[in-house]
Symmetry: C2
Subunit: 281 residues, 2 copies
């Protein structure tokens, strides 16, 4: 990977190493148990303009999972070390990984992984995405009262998220909207669902156990300020089919316009430009 690099937090300092240098031990619980949290931070013009929102969410994930958090300053330090000398004309993805280390009160493992945003991601941002709905196999209300299911935490245990994306690719789609067993909208495997209908922007309720989307929060705040009302709405795939526009929002790809949903082509009523402008401010 061109320019890719890894930053390791060791002995209170951030150390940059080559991407092919081993940095994690075999017994690390992040590896063996997916027991950790992560964030994906956009790098533009050599800066990380939305880092604070990711710091907030990483703290929330660590709290939900009872992970030892090394402090925002440590996270800022590994990100800064990775972004230093990053070429201003290359968009980057900075993934911050925080694991339980060896457990039993041992220090957590903190890494930052820097790589250019993949070409395919840039293409999807420009051209839109074909999406299929898939069940996550959970009732919409179950995670709100069962904290051990880790609703709201962005954990390293993404095997099902990755399998859902592979399933989408196998049926000729780019991405997925996960739904509850009752057919309620949840989220994408790596994104937040947003749709426009009735003059409003909508997103599903966090009480379903979905992640708090950092890009969705920024869009909704700016839309409200610009006079575009927003709502938290318990929608369905039928609501998406009937919507004026549908997007999957994430930190790296931004707002990807859904151009096909379960095999049905769909437009965006010209609203994607407005969403893009709000996010670009």
């Amino acid at each position: 990977m061109t320019n890719a690099r890894v930053v390791v937090w060791r002995d209170g300092a951030a150390t940059v190493v080559a991407p092919d240098e081993p940095v994690v031990t075999g017994f690390d619980l992040g590896l063996g148990r997916g027991d950790g949290a992560f964030e994906s931070v956009l790098v533009v013009a050599g800066t990380t303009p939305h880092l604070d929102a990711h710091l907030d969410r990483l703290r929330r994930s660590a709290s939900i999972m009872a992970l030892t958090h090394p402090g925002d300053d440590a996270v800022r330090a590994v990100v800064a070390a990775g972004v230093a000398d990053w070429p201003a004309d290359v968009e980057g993805a900075c993934r911050v990984l925080l694991t339980r280390g060896l457990g039993d009160g041992t220090p957590p493992t903190l890494l930052a992984l820097l790589a250019p945003v993949p070409e395919e991601t840039l293409r999807q941002r420009e051209e839109g995405i074909a999406v299929v709905g898939l069940s996550l196999g959970v009732p919409a209300d179950v995670r709100a009262t069962a904290p051990w299911l880790l609703g709201g935490a962005k954990t390293l245990s993404y095997a099902v998220n990755m399998a859902a994306l592979r399933h989408a690719h196998a049926v000729g789609a780019d991405d997925v909207v996960l739904t509850s067993v009752e057919g309620r909208l949840l989220e994408g495997p790596t994104s937040t669902v947003v749709w426009a209908a009735g003059g409003r922007l909508h997103t599903p309720p966090m009480e379903t156990g979905i992640l708090a989307g950092t890009t969705q929060a920024r869009l909704f705040e700016r839309a409200e300020a610009a006079g575009w009302p927003t709502a938290v709405t318990a929608g369905s795939m039928a609501d998406l089919q009937a919507a004026d526009a549908v997007w999957l929002l994430s930190g790296i790809r931004g707002a990807a316009t859904v151009t096909r949903l379960d095999g049905v082509s769909r437009g965006d009523a010209g609203l994607s430009r407005r969403v893009g402008e709000l996010l670009a401010r």
Copy 2:
């Protein structure tokens, strides 16, 4: 960890390294996405008597997850390298990890981690365990028809399993029986549920998406041969409360007798000895 060691599969050969030597790169998908599979193999008297059952299940997990499998010989090689010189008088746990590597057709990452069986595990094997029932938040039938949910695969994405165990410890228990949203028995976070009732041994159906227990399979085969009938039964926590005996079975701990279930003390009708004898053959 005394005697702990790590074996890495590199360039077609097994290399033993110290447990604190980094062996996995930051971009490995096993770390960043919990995208891989594992097995925990018991080491007794310097041997791995049940390795074949774990090789079978690792192949099945890899198939479900579309992971590149390096072949049974590679897995045997890393296990053998780890077990070589292992002290005959120390029971060991050999965890085999297989990850998607860097993805996109890159070679998988294959490791074996050897460590002594923890004292606490040996104590629970001897003295039994206090168990609480917790919902896994899925209907019992959903994973059978949604392959992207990875039912039956022993993935590295165990954050929820670990959180369920932490929840049990927080309420003074040792372990967990996970149930479906309808209250049907599934499995433990790292074990298979078995109970004795009506002169039979019972275990829940695999169609619920639970793992095929290697120790449960061995017990049931030997019990049948010894004239103790077995059954696959869709039970509930009430069935466990009413049972003659309940065990959580796993490769390292063996058959741990449940001595307290959701706060209610319970006996084993003297059956644990018979189970132990069948497994020890």
